[in-house]
Symmetry: C2
Subunit: 198 residues, 2 copies
């Protein structure tokens, strides 16, 4: 059944949000229309603008409105260190520790064969080009300590070593099975200090 | 701190959705940008369209794109029965029972003094005008069986009786403390049959 009314179309569109089922979508639609039409219009505009303006940084692959993001352009940063993370949230967590002054590469995912996510989907060719710029002397693998994150770190580590690059991994201060986004900054700071060569 | 980038603006705007906190909003923003830009654009358009086109039915107060909604215009419906519900979801649940062929009035809320929701906020003046059209002979109060829904039904019942109108209440087949939206159709069907004069 194809959605017909603006209300049905809205409820259908809200289901595109992760973790939102049919009931939640309908509640959200009613809420916005009844109590927060300004919010709905604002969200509508924000979505259109984001889709139009945001793309990937040519260097680190994170989301940005420019060709190269602010972090990659920062001259204060140590260009010999490259930290590989799964998502921009993970990058933000590492930034909050104030313990790392190098640059980043954001995979925007993790290897996950069961979900059909292979090396091409996490931009590993772009990572290789980035890591072999002649300035990077060490790649810090800061993927999550989940099974998939570990496998991704291992895969990238082997790939980098085959090209003569030094790869290290955040120390196991991060609890096994945990996700970076939900770990406290102190633990991540410790793990950054204790990173080990793979 | 005012949001700066399109990404921050989007995450901020997603928080206007009910039940979405800062972490969820960020996850949603990343998900849409990384995996479902079509969905994001579609949601953006759906929101703009909904805000522009949807308003309240002049007769029953539900959401509609026309002056009067389809249900109110349906000539097959029994114009002598008017069923008062809190939300369009509740109306939909009653429709699904196939036991009711009258018309509706949607309050778009319930009396809730603690939240500052008084008689004016649930359009009781519009309901009185609607119920005194000379055709309505019975008003079925189908607000939720929560404390607030019961209080609302009682308040409306007294108001209608003072104007010489007959008011009835869904039978207590609906579990006390329950919300219509989550009750099975069979129970609601029974409650509709057993409605009693208040």
């Amino acid at each position: 059944m194809k959605p017909q009314t603006s209300l049905e179309i809205l409820a259908e569109a809200l289901r595109r949000l992760p973790g939102v089922g049919p009931k939640s979508a309908q509640r959200m639609a009613y809420h916005l229309l009844q109590h927060d039409r300004d919010g709905a219009a604002q969200l509508g505009r924000a979505l259109m603008q984001a889709v139009e303006k945001i793309h990937h940084c040519a260097m680190c692959n994170t989301f940005t409105e420019n060709d190269v993001c602010e972090t990659c352009l920062d001259p204060e940063r140590d260009a010999s260190l490259l930290c590989v993370v799964e998502t921009p949230s993970d990058q933000m967590m590492i930034e909050q520790t104030m313990m790392y002054k190098g640059l980043y590469f954001v995979l925007m995912g993790r290897l996950s064969p069961l979900d059909g996510v292979g090396p091409k989907d996490i931009h590993l060719e772009k990572l290789i080009v980035r890591a072999t710029d002649g300035l990077v002397s060490e790649v810090v693998l800061a993927t999550n300590f989940t099974n998939e994150g570990e496998a991704t770190a291992h895969y990238i580590g082997e790939m980098l070593k085959a090209r003569g690059l030094k790869a290290s991994r955040l120390a196991r201060g991060v609890p096994v099975g945990g996700e970076l986004e939900y770990v406290d900054a102190g633990t991540i700071a410790r793990a950054m200090l204790d990173r080990r060569t793979t």
